[in-house]
């Protein structure tokens, strides 16, 4: 990892590492949005890795965003850092700046042809942290190609709901006033793809916590007069877990690099292949990551009192968000069937 990425990872570790202990996570689940912590994220510009330098960002690539997203996953950060990062990226690519405040990132593609005099109709759009959104940001497609749309959430009906990680996933319905539209030189479906990439990175980080806590617990807990880690069955669980963690980390890092180098368009092999592989693998891995970590922890890991669930509940939610293993596997499987038996390997080597 290069120096800048190490520095980024360290700063996220410093911000969340000590702060998000069991008491704090519990209080946030009970009291809702941790405004003070969010303000610190904004002050430090954690979400601005992909923003331009004029916008106070680092003008980095997804390879630089990866350690930040992974660290957020590792600490089960109950804030829309990934969503804000993606919004900043879209703004940079569209050459515009974003309003102040929490972004309401609209995950689905909007139909620009259906806009009515500077207003967009939302027909039940499930939006992360929608209830806290100071503005809405989404991508529309129409005759003019893809565009970045900024809109005001005022007056929308907000059906509040949390995912099983207890992070807000609210459904927005009604008419939102558009206050800016900018041509966006990215494919219209970019939010789904980059959202999937971001969630893969968060899953990679959540996996790290599953492993760390299991290794630590196995060393401390004694049964039959020995620490759990002295038992071969437990050692093998931990080794298996470590391999799965490494595999998600590896393919997601590779997908970030691939996207930085090749983007998502173009006739030659673009990065859609690696992104689909990353989310497919990451989503599929969630089952084993959570099962093995819980198994090593025994009953204590199943209690609210012990904090493993802050991570594992989020992993179960992230598994499906922005598409699960089935959706992304189907993308790859379709490509493989089109390529045929002789063409599948060239597909992988690129």
């Amino acid at each position: 990892m290069n120096e800048m990425r190490q520095m980024l990872e360290d700063s996220v570790e410093r911000l969340f590492g000590d702060r998000l202990d069991w008491e704090t996570q519990t209080r946030i689940e009970e009291e809702g949005f941790p405004r003070a912590l969010w303000d610190e994220v904004v002050d430090q510009g954690i979400h601005k890795v992909l923003a331009t330098e004029e916008a106070g960002g680092l003008d980095g690539g997804w390879g630089d965003a990866y350690p930040v997203l992974r660290a957020c996953g590792k600490h089960a950060v109950p804030l829309p850092v990934a969503e804000a990062m993606l919004a900043e990226y879209l703004a940079r690519e569209a050459g515009c700046s974003l309003p102040e405040g929490v972004p309401g990132l609209l995950p689905q593609v909007l139909d620009a042809d259906a806009f009515e005099s500077d207003a967009v109709k939302l027909d039940g759009v499930r939006t992360p942290w929608g209830r806290h959104a100071a503005y809405l940001v989404g991508v529309a497609t129409g005759d003019a190609g893809a565009e970045l749309v900024l809109a005001a959430p005022d007056g929308l009906e907000v059906a509040e709901e949390d995912n099983i990680g207890r992070d807000p996933r609210d459904t927005l319905t009604g008419t939102a006033r558009i206050h800016a539209r900018h041509p966006l030189p990215l494919p219209a479906d970019c939010v789904r793809w980059l959202g999937a990439l971001a969630r893969s990175a968060q899953i990679a980080g959540g996996g790290v916590t599953c492993l760390d806590l299991a290794v630590q617990y196995a060393a401390e807990r004694e049964q039959f007069g020995r620490p759990l880690s002295a038992f071969q069955a437990i050692q093998h669980y931990l080794a298996d877990l470590a391999g799965v963690v490494a595999s998600v980390d590896s393919i997601t890092m590779a997908a970030c690099e691939a996207y930085d180098q090749r983007g998502m368009t173009g006739a030659t092999r673009n990065a859609r292949f690696e992104i689909a592989a990353a989310k497919c693998r990451a989503s599929e891995a969630v089952e084993k990551l959570t099962r093995l970590s819980h198994q090593v922890h025994g009953a204590i890991g199943f209690t609210y009192e012990y904090g493993l669930h802050f991570t594992t509940r989020r992993l179960w939610a992230w598994r499906a968000e922005f598409g699960g293993a089935g959706e992304w596997g189907e993308f790859l499987g379709r490509a493989a069937c089109e390529a045929g038996g002789d063409g599948v390997w060239p597909l992988i080597t690129g």
């Binding site: 990892m1 570790e13 590492g17 996996g207 790290v208 492993l211 760390d212 290794v215 196995a218 060393a219 880690s229 437990i234 050692q235 093998h236 931990l238 080794a239 298996d240 470590a242 391999g243 799965v244 490494a246 595999s247 980390d249 590896s250 393919i251 890092m253 590779a254 690099e257 691939a258 292949f273 690696e274 689909a276 592989a277 990353a278 497919c280 693998r281 599929e284 293993a325 089935g326 959706e327 992304w328 596997g329 189907e330 993308f331 790859l332 499987g333 379709r334 490509a335 493989a336 069937c337 089109e338 390529a339 045929g340 038996g341 002789d342 599948v344 390997w345 597909l347 992988i348 080597t349």
Partner: protein
Amino acid sequence: MSSVADKIRFEPSPLPAELDELRREVRAFLEETLADYPAAVRSHSWEAYDAEFSARLGARGWLGMTLPTEYGGHGRSAFERYVVVEECLVAGAPTAFHWVADRQSGPLLVRYANEAQKKRIIPQIAAGKACFAIGMSEPNSGSDLASLRTRAERTANGWLVNGTKIWTSNAHRANYMIALFRTDPDPNKKHAALSQFLIDLSAVEGVTPRPIKNLAGGRNFNEVSFVDVELPEDALIGTEGQGWKQVTEELAYERSGPERYLSCFFLLRKLIDAVRDKASPATMARLGAQVAWATTLRNMSLSIAAKLNAGEDPALAASVVKDLGCQFEQALPGLAQELCELEPTLDGFGLEYQQVLGNLVQVAPSFSLRGGTPEIMRGIIAKGLGVR
């Protein structure tokens, strides 16, 4: 806060674009050379023995690629060799004759053999004219390799070897064997009493391979008895008593390559052909998940090639990839039957897919035995995590 996961990371190491040309050349060569090879034979891949094919590969300069030019190697990078190796595996090229020599014996000899041995043998490896066998396991020493008993005793002018090796692939037709023997009878010195030897099988007497037929009828491996075998002084390679360390380095080469996840790739190719016209979205999702796995494992495997190229120790990373790769390739025959429920057949009967399936269903159990079991791999990983 540091994490144990930091000890096992696989930084992306994409192949440089200038290797595309080499890949095209290798692909064209394999397509032409293997055109008439039956699919069932090709599915044996690195277990199929074909001296003529190996010599042709050697003539193209594609063996001993990373070995130094001063000894007759080609002085090329680990990545260039990687391209050749993975293309051979995916094409189902019959590589058994040169596989061990090119993968581990060559690098081992460059590091530990004397000048005369290197000058004599490395050119043979690069030409695809030397087949090597690995003398490690014994009838009572499988996973517990360090308990092996075959003795090499010092004599006035060399060594005298007595004992038995087993599961020794190609011992009945190899030119050389590199074997691990006990050189010190002290029972307290388990690992420190082991040493490695180079045996020129055409020049010694008393080495008798007895073929062992595998469950599929194949005759690759052997039990090899050593009865009063006299070896010259310089048969010892490296340092007496350092055999365990040397073997551990050798095993890193044996465990780190793309063959640890690609053994069934030929089946995946045939499966895709068998189902592509009528694949449901659910079937495509299952196939795509295998493609995602293969892509992931390839990235990890390439990262190991980068570690090897940089002179780093890849042993822990290699254990991870071997363990994961084995899970992937061993599950493929079962998945294939789930998605395309045609009976596995013997060579020459049924569709190509059925023959390839028939072969791989039978040989898949060996994937998690050869080169170290998952139990051993996970023990190594657990040690790397600090829990053992």
